[in-house]
Point group: C2
Chain length 300, copies 2
């Protein structure tokens, strides 16, 4: 009924999206150990850090050192929230940079005190500069389904925002259910439209597991033709606007599901769990993912 | 692409399947409060207890009292593992009885020291007696996908076992991924075959969430035409053969997913969480479901 792909790509967001809201300050050494173990597990695309102001996100204050010391294999994404961050990323030798805009006006207002349109205007010259240096640009579209302030987003607003990014020449669109509220029907519907409208851009689905629909959403997005998925080892992360929320969908659970469906990821689940075990002792939260629990109980 | 149903039925298994492996002895009064709260939430079919030997499952020693005192609204299932249990269930006035057989020989051997065929021979006269009294018989098919001892099960063995139950006149087949290892493709494939082959029997999918695929499996089973799902409030339960495993897929998470997909269940998610809050303080484990965490954080 559906033609599913033979291969998918996992983009690991744990070291950046996963750690940015972590209360405990994780040392640079521990982060590098974590990233290195994830690379060893076969993960080729990783969000490694963010050139955000250390005043706002102290956890990412070591961005420059992370970029210097991380092993340059595959793609290392760094987040650049604005022009200053992009300049720092370029200086640090980043070859792949992520930029963010939310679909929701209220969400952007709360985050950076700008409307969606103003946020886009802010990011336009950043993208131009990055592309002029032949840097891979990943555009992260947050609140693509629901906004914590405005509720359900309009699909056409998402398509229009994506269209503007595509026209700016971005290489990848990562479309996110930021607060973990989208359902499989909505995911199928939006990703099918995105896939058809933007056949030439890398299209990635980013799910949070707040309401435990992330795995079903991945399956639905897969049916819609999506072959790239953002995931976070250990399920690290979470939205600051949803205190009870769990984090991103877990790399080890997603990779396992693809494994048993016969879809190749090139990633070893047990080694992902080993990577998680290096970071787990340094975190303020416990790891509740399916595969990590089996790993801890020596059932892997 | 798929025609999804307007309504589905949730069969709550928490008070039986969920509690049977609970270490703390839960009082009869607390169980009745839990069941009553679940009924108030709109759940019409509930596994309330099991007429199993109290020597083996002390938690279910109060089966008779539960059956006497539980409110008789909708369907109250009791489990009868054998002829003795069935007689006790009949005596207690049960109108709906569940019987169990695993697909896997090894699994049945470990559980009741009988092969699958011997187990079926044991249950045949039980079903005949129940049907003679016009009792609704639910046949629970365990290890329908994977066995902890034998690995993957043959689909034709499942179909054949189901066929024998249907010939014995059972009203419902509840087909289970007992150890939480099946993936969405396997679920779609098996449930589509079952739906086509047994159009006249109630067909129910029963998933455990060990590897976090249960929600995706429910979505896949829904696409295969399944409209009945076993779930457990609070995600209670778990397989004794998989110590690290979490339990059954959670009623509140499943109901929420159906709600937002526009599929009616007749069940109120918040009231399910309230029911869970009545039992939670009496359990040895914490509740980790998506909706219950939101409920605890007053985000519902």
């Amino acid at each position: 009924m559906f033609i599913l792909p033979n291969n998918v790509t996992i983009i690991e967001v744990g070291p950046r999206d996963g750690l940015q809201n972590e209360e405990n300050q994780v040392t640079t050494r521990d982060k590098l150990t974590f990233i290195s173990a994830l690379q060893k597990a076969g993960i080729t695309e990783i969000e490694v850090t963010s050139f955000v102001s250390p005043k706002w996100v102290p956890q990412m204050a070591d961005a420059k050192e992370i970029m210097q010391k991380v092993e340059k294999t595959g793609r290392q994404f760094v987040l650049a929230p604005n022009a200053v961050g992009a300049d720092l990323a370029i200086e640090a030798g980043a070859k792949s940079v992520a930029v963010f805009v939310g679909v929701s006006n209220s969400f952007n207002k709360h985050n950076i005190n700008r409307t969606t349109n103003e946020s886009l205007q802010l990011v336009e010259p950043v993208i131009a500069k990055l592309k002029a240096q032949n840097i891979f640009v990943r555009a992260c579209i947050s609140t693509a389904f629901y906004c914590p302030y405005e509720g359900q987003m309009d699909q056409y607003a998402v398509l229009e925002l994506c269209n503007r990014f595509v026209k700016l020449g971005v290489d990848e669109l990562s479309v996110a259910d930021t607060i973990g509220r989208a359902n499989p029907l909505e995911c199928y519907s939006l990703f099918k439209k995105l896939r058809e409208r933007f056949p030439d851009v890398l299209l990635t689905a980013h799910f949070h597991d707040t309401r435990k629909m992330a795995m079903a959403n991945i399956y639905a997005a897969l049916q819609a033709g999506i072959t790239r998925f953002d995931t976070s080892a250990g399920g690290l992360g979470g939205c600051p606007f949803a205190p009870g929320a769990t984090g991103n969908v877990a790399t080890e659970d997603v990779v396992q599901m693809f494994d048993v469906m016969g879809i190749q990821t090139g990633i070893d689940v047990k080694q992902v769990c080993e990577a998680v075990s290096t970071i787990a002792p340094h975190l303020s939260r416990s790891i509740e993912t399916g595969m990590y629990k089996l790993y801890e109980n020596e059932q892997l």
